[in-house]
């Protein structure tokens, strides 16, 4: 290579891998810290190693009792799965609709600052708590059964869809909004003719994705008594009915697989 004399530029003789953290000192430091953390955390957890050591034979025993899966009570299974699907469908429908106003209020380029802050706070608050905590509160208010489950799923759907919608609206090019405003359009007209055509495909995609996520989540809210296949699963597990449990787990896997397949298919067509 022809390097002009005196510039001091020299091609490196050895190749080095590109690292995310360039300094080797900091890199090793992180590794040492990670190892130290593992030791510290494992020591503070107070693990009963004797009990854990019994785990492997227990797992073998459990698997032996799970296989073959027992599909003989398929009526109960089908009813549970159907209830889960219905919960997911209802929750997605209401979540989709209720998320629109919240999503619009959470877009900083459309609404005044106080409205934006309130909407964003609601979105963050409803995202923080795990579905099961929300489900327990709804079970206390509405009693056992699918109502609590549906409401839980609605809450999580609203926060998810509205967050995506708000971000989508904020990322829009300001040109169209300005153009429609320049024609003297009112706020509803702005929403109908400018915001909705631009955000609809993504909004529908997110909603369909949420349907698929709701199917997954509807299988678990039942554990605290909020209906669906999860309730059947929890009951069979507490009765050590492991062969029926495996049948339920396999049905859940099939259900989620088809839900995901459907969601991917619809989203592929939307594009």
């Amino acid at each position: 290579m022809n390097i002009p004399a005196g510039t001091g530029v020299r091609a490196p003789l050895q190749w080095h891998r590109i690292r995310i953290i360039e300094s080797p000192l900091i890199r090793t430091g992180f590794a040492v810290l990670a190892v130290a953390y593992i030791f510290w955390s494992v020591s503070t957890l107070g693990i009963d190693w004797v009990r854990v050591a019994k785990g492997l034979p227990r797992a073998a025993d459990m698997i032996a009792r799970m296989v073959p899966p027992d599909f003989s009570r398929w009526e109960l299974l089908v009813r549970g799965v159907l209830e889960s699907v219905q919960m997911a469908l209802a929750a997605s429908f209401f979540g989709m609709i209720l998320a629109v106003p919240l999503g619009i209020c959470g877009a900083s380029n459309l609404v005044p600052k106080p409205v934006y802050l309130v909407a964003r706070t609601i979105i963050i608050l409803s995202r923080t708590f795990h579905e099961i905590i929300v489900a327990i509160l709804f079970v206390k208010i509405f009693g056992f059964g699918p109502v609590a489950g549906v409401l839980t799923l609605i809450v999580s759907s609203i926060s998810f869809i509205s967050k995506m919608l708000a971000e989508d609206i904020e990322n829009m090019t300001p040109g169209q909004i300005e153009a429609i405003r320049a024609t003297g359009a009112s706020f509803p007209k702005l929403l109908i003719y400018c915001i909705s055509p631009q955000s609809l495909p993504r909004y529908l995609g997110v909603s369909i994705y949420r349907l698929d996520a709701n199917i997954r989540h509807s299988t678990v809210v039942g554990i605290v008594g909020a209906g669906g296949i999860g309730q059947v699963l929890a009951a069979s597990f507490s009765r050590y009915d492991y062969d029926f449990s495996l049948a339920i787990l396999l049905s859940i896997i099939m259900l989620v697989f088809f839900g995901e397949f459907f969601s991917n298919w619809v989203r592929g067509r939307l594009r």
Partner: protein, 270 residues
């Protein structure tokens, strides 16, 4: 083009959709509403409970106030345990998810059988919720954080494995070919050709999943798999709502902080 044709092509009033499109659109709406109505009506919802729901909710809020601040001292231990479960679970996940992703990616898998096995592991892991994995691992390892760590790990393998597998499928094949051309072994191709390309994705998804796992580990205690959920569950069952309020505030704080950390780290990586 005569006047009539012109008027048909460029009508006085502009419409976004043709009549046919409108019809299709409205039938879609009708179908969606029909599905929603069918679902709700089949769930046999006791509508009577909605009448006094606001009273019940207000009652719950009153019972929660004021939060029992003395309870905070007993929370720090379980809170740290919750974070440990999430972190160690995520660490275990990274170790397991990479090989699974490697056989689940079309361009690195050995044959179609291994590809199918990899895909099945990813789907099964994602389909079963963390809490359900918790039920299973509590039955195996007994109640405690070990069950929680495995539950977190088994649910996260599917999530991280899927994202890493997608990243592996999208790598630049040129680099891999160049390294193969130097006569590198399969392992060397993996270490020098593939891993550096997917490393940012691995880091990013790890931090992202860690943040989700913190949220998940707060409820693992409900099935006895350790963490703050144990306290939350027992307080709820004893109707000690003032304690529940404190625990929920603590959970809120931890989740918000972890989300902030995760967002900051991900921003710096990308």
């Amino acid at each position: 083009m005569n006047v009539e044709q012109h008027a048909q092509k460029y009508p006085e009033v502009w419409r976004r959709f043709s009549p046919r499109e409108t019809l299709v659109r409205y039938s879609w709406y009708l179908g969606i509403v029909f599905i929603a109505v069918w679902s709700v009506s089949n769930l046999d919802i006791p509508w009577l409970y909605f009448l006094d729901a606001h009273i019940q909710a207000a009652d719950l809020a009153v019972r929660m106030w004021p939060p029992d601040w003395d309870y905070v001292d007993r929370l720090t231990g379980p809170l740290i345990e919750t974070i440990h479960i999430a972190t160690l679970g995520t660490a275990v996940t990274v170790v397991i998810a990479f090989p699974v992703a490697f056989i689940a990616a079309r361009n690195t898998t050995f044959n179609s059988v291994t590809w199918f096995i990899g895909r099945f592991i990813l789907v099964a892991s994602r389909s079963i919720n963390t809490v359900v994995w918790g039920l299973i691992f509590v039955a195996i390892f007994g109640p405690g954080p070990v069950a929680g760590i495995w539950a977190i790990a088994f649910r996260s393998i599917g999530f991280m494995g899927k994202l890493i597998a997608e990243a592996i499928e999208e790598i630049d094949e040129g680099t891999v070919e160049a390294i193969e051309a130097t006569g590198a072994s399969r392992l060397q191709v993996l270490l020098i050709g593939i891993i550096p390309q997917v490393l940012p994705v691995i880091y990013g998804t790890t931090v992202y999943r860690w943040d989700i796992n913190i949220r998940e580990s707060t409820v693992l205690g409900f099935v006895g798999a350790g963490g703050i959920g144990i306290l939350l569950y027992s307080s709820i069952n004893q109707f000690l709502w003032q304690e529940v309020a404190v625990i929920m505030l603590a959970v809120f704080g931890v989740v918000i902080v972890s989300e902030f950390i995760s967002a900051t780290v991900r921003q710096r990586i990308s």
